[in-house]
């Protein structure tokens, strides 16, 4: 006690507090910088780890797969049929495929989904000697994430079904699913499997979504997609298993859409690229309609990844089948669900990763940065008694903003989901939002005529909004690092507003310049700006991309049960609005600030 | 020094509280802790056991009465001294084993006691001094025929020779071996109070075979009766079909027979495939009659080098391979008749003797069983004490092992039976001595093999410390320091007092 007392007295004596207060904005910014630097540092040699199989039972690549020469003819035979199919028609009712599967001894069932108005065919093979409680799923969507007909996939599906049925080693049941696409249709099947379907085969341990759009015998390399919804990732052991199996076959593996030329590059930039792309994709998982399919299994404790054949030549189609076969054999060796290895990680390459403990500090730093800013803005204009008397008012105001946001977000979502012309509606709404944002931003430039909020309220509202973001980041820290960190970085300009206001009050520099800067900060950190920009930039978007992305965001909860929309609409957006409200209606003029600084 | 503002009364109260807590912890807490955390260890009667071990040589004695039927009264004493001399000079059984010669009277029954009849043979000529002896094949009678002219010392020497070479030869050998701990018996079953005797008929194929076993089993009863003091027998029988051989026998053209070679005999019994399990707790002696399917083709299956076509497997049982005397008629069902079984059981009886460890000499089964009983009692008593000593040694060396009350009960029981057996021996009641020694051994085994006496969780002391320290450490340290503080204060107080007194005195 004495020590603390002495330290505090010393601090007081030396007048450290005011000095500390002055450098708070710099500390906050430095922390944000450190956070980014931290992440930038991770792809450097020595900072990341090599992946390894942590579950002894998996034993990937330890078994000879006989999906080779003898199965060639099956594959070709099926393909000669598949290439003639009209995929959009066949995807709802495929008599031929049903017959094939039934001939191989699989029991075929259908799932009708009223929401997407599709019928999904799926087949179950009960393991002859298994205990009938667990299952592995092979998903072959009719259309790949790129919208291409999944010709190779639909060739391999029945060929593997035929091959699997001949083997007696299964301890888990096998399920083959043929959804129209890997997005909402698959998602609705997964949901139905766990709720309403009659023909089931036990709890699903792992799922592979297969994409092989070409109808040629050859492919170049394997692409793995693994991001799940709401920050969930498949167990790293599953990715390791497939990677190991592929390397046993001599096939190169790429993640995050690395081009084949980059796969062999083992430099900092390629790792950083994969790493950054991983964060971005994880943050936006479930929104883009080009999602790979594996995320449809999120939320049911199912480890799922998507493997796609990319490239033109090098390996043949049975090798792709062997990867599936061998991976399934590995998962089949498991005694229970995946429980070893990592559930939270970020990949640098198929064979390198950082685990949660290593990257988590980055998001913590951002959160701290927001917290410090919040403290700064409190300290700028609020005394402790004021704080105590006004905190309930601020909470009331913020709750009001939150309630408006909730209503608006639900309204917009309902409109988009139920609209017959989803895209048009979305574009209309996006226009509305963009305009409202611009209006808001511009109104901050206007003179401070309408002072509805008192000085204390303004400061406290600003401080609370920043604190709210800090808490938002902290609460999502572990479960959804990517989104937490992304929001933190995008909303970072909000922390500059208070120092700018203080500068205005101090009277150094031109007022209008400061105001312009404040408006810029608000504009940049608005979720609407970010969503529009992302839509424009990623997935070769352009204007269509904006509509697509926004639409995805609006329907993501309905279609995929992704939380992202609500986190933005009820976390980020209210905080932003609160700051905007404080800027427009707030009274920040202080004479006492100067006195205080003295 | 700072003066505390405490009232003297509160000081006293504090002293009292410290005292009460210290008393509580040391007088009540510590004993309770030790009391409740200790492993239960019954006190074993170690002293009593040690005494029995020490006096073993004095107390366990075999004095076998032999009744001498002779006209010559002096012969008894002479023979007695000659045999005693023989035992002390040529064997290591002095004190342990001796013969006691007594004069024969009419009431003595040679089926119960050894009767040595000395018969003078006058008819033989003086040139041909022929000495001969006859051992009864049924009773315990020994008849020695001597020329009347033979001197008494020669008579006693001859009688000694007959007794020790023919009658008690194997017994003495076994006793000596056991006494010097050099006995290694491969063949016989370890002692048990109950044995299961299982008669099995194993048929190679599935063709039904009958056997008159129900009628034949009573034939074994006299044998079991004869061994009743050693153990009890429980008899069961079974037939099993499709009992394949592990090794194919070799066909011998000369004999027109299949021969099982000597080296294949140990693996003849197919332990894995033939259902030989029974869930009896007591050991089983298995007797197998094997019926080969080639009997239908009139090709006998023979054991190499065996007249009786049988062999015994150590500590397991006996095997007889059945070949019908006449080739079976086509389509008729084979039945092993009672008379055939009688012969087979005869072989099994001999095998039973062998498997139990009954000596093969002399001819008379009574004498053999008698020797066997004495020898077994000695073995049992010795083992019983060995077991108990081992138990005591073990309980002393393994501190963590618990010794349940049942163990002690068994130890006490075993020793009581031991005493009884010794008592029986002292009156030459060998059958009851055997019974008691058997129970003593069994109890000592039970004591040692008590189920609850299982040590399997060894905790190094560091682990115990790690568990108990967080629990007891804070309390103990507070109490200890409290007491220490009071103690120092008290000492200071005393020295201050004495100083003031001194000062007073000086004044």
């Amino acid at each position: 006690m004495a020590l603390a007392e002495t330290v505090l007295r010393k601090v007081y004596k030396l007048g450290l507090l005011p000095k500390l207060f002055l450098i708070l904005p710099r500390v906050s910014f430095l922390l944000a910088l450190a956070s980014v630097a931290w992440l930038l540092m991770l792809p450097m040699d020595g900072q990341f780890r090599n992946t390894y199989i942590s579950e002894n039972a998996l034993m990937p690549g330890q078994v000879t797969s006989y999906f080779r020469e003898s199965e060639w003819n099956y594959v070709r035979g099926f393909r000669s049929e598949v290439v003639n199919w009209n995929f959009s028609e066949m995807s709802t009712d495929n008599e031929l495929l049903t017959n094939w599967l039934q001939d191989f001894g699989w029991s075929v069932s259908k799932h009708r989904d009223p929401k997407t108005n599709t019928t999904t065919t799926y087949a179950i093979m009960h393991a002859p000697r298994g205990d009938n409680t667990e299952a592995m799923v092979l998903v072959v969507p009719y259309f790949t994430s790129e919208g291409m007909p999944n010709k190779g996939g639909l060739t391999l599906g029945p060929a593997l079904a035929n091959y699997f049925a001949k083997m007696s080693i299964w301890s888990k049941n096998l399920i083959l699913v043929f959804p129209h696409n890997g997005h909402s249709v698959l998602r609705s099947w997964v949901e139905a499997y766990h709720t309403t379907l009659d023909a089931t085969a036990g709890s699903i341990d792992a799922a592979l979504v297969v994409e092989y759009p070409s109808d040629s015998d050859a492919f170049g390399h394997l692409e793995i997609n693994y991001e799940g919804l709401n920050g969930q990732l498949p167990n790293l052991d599953l990715i390791n298993t497939v990677t190991t199996v592929a390397s046993h076959e001599g096939i190169r593996v790429s993640v995050q859409g690395m081009s084949p030329d980059d796969i062999d590059k083992r430099d900092y930039w390629s790792r950083l690229q994969v790493f950054a792309s991983g964060i971005l994709r994880l943050a936006t998982a479930g929104i883009s309609s080009k999602s790979p399919g594996c995320e449809s299994f999120s939320g049911w404790q199912i480890q799922a990844i998507t493997i796609s054949a990319a490239g033109e030549k090098g390996h043949d189609v049975t090798q792709f089948g062997r990867i599936i076969d061998s991976s399934f054999r590995s998962v089949n060796n498991l005694l229970e669900k995946f429980h070893q290895s990592f559930f939270f990680y970020l990949l640098m390459s198929p064979r390198h990763f950082v685990s949660i403990g290593t990257y988590l500090p980055a998001a913590v730093l951002v959160a701290v940065s927001f917290a410090i800013s919040s403290l700064y803005s409190l300290a700028s204009g609020v005394t402790t008694p004021e704080f105590i008397t006004h905190i309930s008012d601020v909470l009331f105001i913020f709750t009001g903003i939150e309630a408006v946001c909730l209503l608006l977000s639900l309204l917009m979502q309902t409109i988009v989901v139920n609209a017959t012309e989803g895209y048009t509606t979305t574009i209309t709404i996006v226009y509305g939002l963009v305009i409202s944002t611009l209006v808001t931003v511009l109104s901050t430039l206007a003179g401070n005529n309408i002072k509805i909020l008192s000085k204390t309220h303004s400061y406290m509202l600003l401080a609370f909004a920043l604190f709210f973001i800090a808490m938002l980041i902290v609460s999502m820290l572990i479960v959804h690092f990517a989104l937490a960190f992304s929001i933190g970085i995008c909303a970072l300009p909000l922390t500059f507003i208070q120092p700018l206001i203080n500068m205005c009050n101090a009277g150094n520099g031109s007022l209008i310049k400061h105001k312009l800067r404040i408006a810029m900060c608000l504009l940049i950190s608005s979720p609407i700006t970010v969503v529009v920009a992302l839509g424009y930039l990623i997935n070769d978007g352009g204007m269509f991309g904006i509509a697509n992305f926004s639409h995805g965001l609006f329907v993501s909860w309905d279609a995929m049960q992704s939380w992202t929309y609500f986190i933005i609409a009820l976390g980020w957006y209210p905080a932003w609005s609160a700051i905007a409200v404080a800027c427009i209606f707030g009274d920040f003029r202080i004479e006492s600030v100067k006195q205080k600084a003295d | 020094m700072l003066q505390s503002k405490e009232t003297p009364y509160s000081k006293v109260v504090r002293d009292r509280i410290v005292l009460v807590i210290a008393l509580f912890v040391f007088c009540l807490g510590a004993p309770l802790f030790l009391y409740t955390t200790r492993v239960h260890r019954a006190d074993l009667p170690v002293l009593e056991l040690d005494q029995r071990v020490e006096t073993f040589a004095d107390s366990v004695k075999f004095r076998i009465p032999v009744y001498v039927n002779s006209t010559n009264e002096a012969a008894i004493a002479q023979i007695q001294s000659a045999t005693d001399n023989y035992i002390s000079t040529t064997t290591n059984l002095d004190l342990l084993w001796s013969l006691e010669f007594r004069p024969y009277t009419q009431e003595i029954d040679s089926y119960q006691d050894y009767v040595l009849s000395l018969i003078e043979d006058d008819e033989s000529s003086l040139d041909h001094l022929t000495q001969s002896f006859v051992l009864s094949p049924f009773s315990k009678g020994i008849t020695v025929v001597l020329p009347s002219s033979l001197s008494i010392s020669n008579v006693s020497q001859y009688v000694t020779e007959v007794l020790f070479n023919q009658v008690f030869g194997s017994e003495i050998q076994m006793f000596s071996a056991l006494k010097s701990n050099s006995l290694s018996s491969d063949m016989s079953f370890p002692y048990s109070t109950v044995f299961n005797v299982v008669f099995n008929l194993f048929v190679q194929d599935g063709t039904p075979v009958d056997w008159a076993i129900a009628e034949a089993v009573p034939l074994m009863q006299p044998i079991f009766q004869a061994l009743q003091h050693y153990c009890k027998f429980k008899v069961s029988t079974q037939i099993q079909y499709y009992s394949k051989l592990t090794n194919e026998p070799t066909f011998n053209e000369e004999q027109n027979a299949n021969i099982i070679s000597q080296e294949n005999l140990p693996t003849f019994v197919n332990f894995g495939d033939w259902n030989l399990h029974n869930h009896e707790v007591t050991p089983s002696i298995n007797f197998v009659i094997y019926f080969s399917e080639l009997n239908y083709e009139n090709i006998p299956l023979l054991v190499e080098g065996s007249e009786t076509n049988s062999f015994s497997i150590p500590q397991w049982g006996g095997v007889y391979i059945y070949n019908p005397a006449l080739p079976p008629l086509e389509g008729s069902r084979i039945k092993i008749s009672e008379s055939e079984l009688n012969k087979i059981l005869d072989i099994f009886a001999s095998q039973l003797f062998e498997l139990l460890g009954v000596p093969s000499e002399p001819v008379s089964p009574l004498m053999r069983i008698d020797s066997f009983q004495r020898f077994s009692s000695y073995k049992n008593l010795k083992r019983s004490l060995d077991n108990l000593s081992a138990l005591v040694k073990l309980s002393n060396s393994l501190i963590g092992i618990s010794i349940p009350e049942a163990t002690k009960t068994n130890v006490v029981d075993s020793m009581a039976r031991f005493d009884e057996a010794v008592q029986n021996l002292s009156v030459a009641d060998f059958s009851h001595a055997l019974e008691n020694s058997g129970i003593s051994l069994e109890s000592s085994d039970k004591a040692f093999f008590e189920k609850e006496m299982l040590q399997q969780a060894h905790f190094p002391n560091e682990h115990k410390l790690a568990i108990f320290l967080p629990l007891l450490g804070p309390i103990c340290s507070i109490v200890l320091f409290g007491i220490l503080k009071r103690f120092i204060a008290w000492k200071k107080n005393r020295s201050a007092l004495s100083q003031t007194e001194k000062a007073k005195k000086e004044i």
């Binding site: 039972a57 | 009391y35 009667p45 009593e48 089926y111 001999s350 040694k393 005493d419 030459a428 093999f449």
Partner: protein, 377 residues
């Protein structure tokens, strides 16, 4: 290829030297005899699960070998923690192989597993060795050894520093094992023990043993793993461990009548073969391993006796009159302390009974009252 020539040369030269050395240092030692009359084997695989296939295969391989060398099934106690032959993942149902050539099905005929699945526990293992059972334990599941028995004990599974895991749930410690052996020794349950263990850090398991006439071999020393030898790509698992593989490879070469000594087996245990440092402990063992035949442990001396003559016992015994008789009682007093139960009646507690806990509570309450009383003004 250039590099290979000096390598080859070196190999030739060294092998020549090795040959010479072998000849030079082998003055034939006299074989010693152990004097045992029966052989027993306890073979234990302690791990469950499909991926531990090799532990089951290790154990069954040794089972097959000791059986081939003549130990009868009734004297082999086989403990298998899992049934991988019937595991659905087994591509060859009902079989277990210890080599990728799949030449020998270890799970073929005549496998008698005495303890299987969840019966394989530390408790049962200790009970087996010390023979402390319920009264109704079947004899086929007991180790009925005596002072003339040579016992071969083989353990395999996942081990650590001074422990061996059983069933993924519990473990036996080196101290427990040592005490168990001591109990066997006290009860004269063995003549000699050959203790072999193939686990990670196996050598730590035998360090605490202190009973005489035990020869110990382990596959790896402290902080060292034991490795598997190879995988069968059709079964999809590693099928045998290195240490056991080389043990078996050697034992395959001997037969029932072999005079091969045990030190020749130890010579197989090189780092090159096993990829870890196998340990051999001989200080407890009375004989020089160079004079001990392998068949002292792996073979069986059990010989059958062929009966030649028929003694006609039945009729002989039948004709004797077996009678009970009382002999005159002769007073013969032996001085000894009488045994009375009284002095030994136990006072120790097994556990605190309800009544006792009530008393303790009452004392505590009284104690608190006392404190209150003394501190009251």
């Amino acid at each position: 290829m250039k590099l290979n020539i000096p390598w080859l040369l070196w190999a030739i030269i060294s092998s020549v030297y090795a040959l010479e050395a072998a000849e030079a240092i082998s003055p034939e030692k006299q074989l010693s005899t152990s004097g045992h009359t029966n052989n027993w084997a306890v073979l234990v695989s302690t791990s469950r699960f499909w991926f531990n296939y090799r532990h089951m295969a290790n154990t069954l391989s040794l089972y097959r070998t000791v059986k081939r060398l003549g130990v009868p099934d009734s004297q082999i106690i086989l403990m298998m923690a899992d049934d991988i032959a019937c595991n659905p993942r087994n591509a060859f149902p009902g079989t277990i192989f210890n080599n990728m050539d799949q030449a020998i099905d270890l799970y073929g005929d005549d496998i008698e597993v005495d303890y299987r699945g969840y019966e394989v526990t530390v408790e049962n293992f200790v009970r087996l060795l010390t023979d402390r059972w319920d009264e109704n334990q079947p004899r086929s599941k007991r180790l009925l050894t005596d002072e003339n028995s040579n016992v071969f004990i083989y353990l395999t599974g996942h081990g650590g520093n001074e422990f061996l895991k059983f069933q993924d749930a519990e473990e036996i410690g080196a101290y427990d094992l040592a005490d168990t052996f001591q109990q066997m020794h006290e009860k004269k349950r063995y003549k000699e023990i050959f203790f072999m263990i193939d686990t990670c850090q196996a050598n730590t398991m035998y360090l605490r043993i202190y009973s005489p006439n035990i020869l110990c071999v382990g596959s790896s020393r402290l902080d060292e793993s034991s490795y598997s030898h190879h995988s069968d790509m059709d079964v999809g698992v590693a099928v045998i461990d290195r240490f056991t593989y080389y043990t078996l490879e050697f034992l395959e070469k001997i037969d029932k009548n072999s005079q091969t000594t045990i030190d020749k087996l130890f010579e197989e245990y090189t780092f090159e073969n096993v990829h870890s440092h196998p340990g051999i402990r001989t200080d407890l063992y009375g004989r020089d391993p160079a004079t001990v035949r392998l068949t002292d442990f792996f073979g069986n001396v059990q010989e059958v006796t062929v009966r030649d003559k028929n003694e006609l016992l039945l009729s002989t015994v039948k004709s004797t009159r077996m009678q009970e008789g009382q002999l005159p009682v002769d007073d013969h007093e032996i001085l000894r302390i009488p045994i009375s139960n009284k002095g030994y009646e136990s006072t120790a507690l097994h556990q605190v009974s309800k009544k006792e806990s009530q008393i303790i509570m009452a004392v505590l309450v009284a104690f608190l009252g006392l404190i209150w009383a003394v501190s009251k003004e």
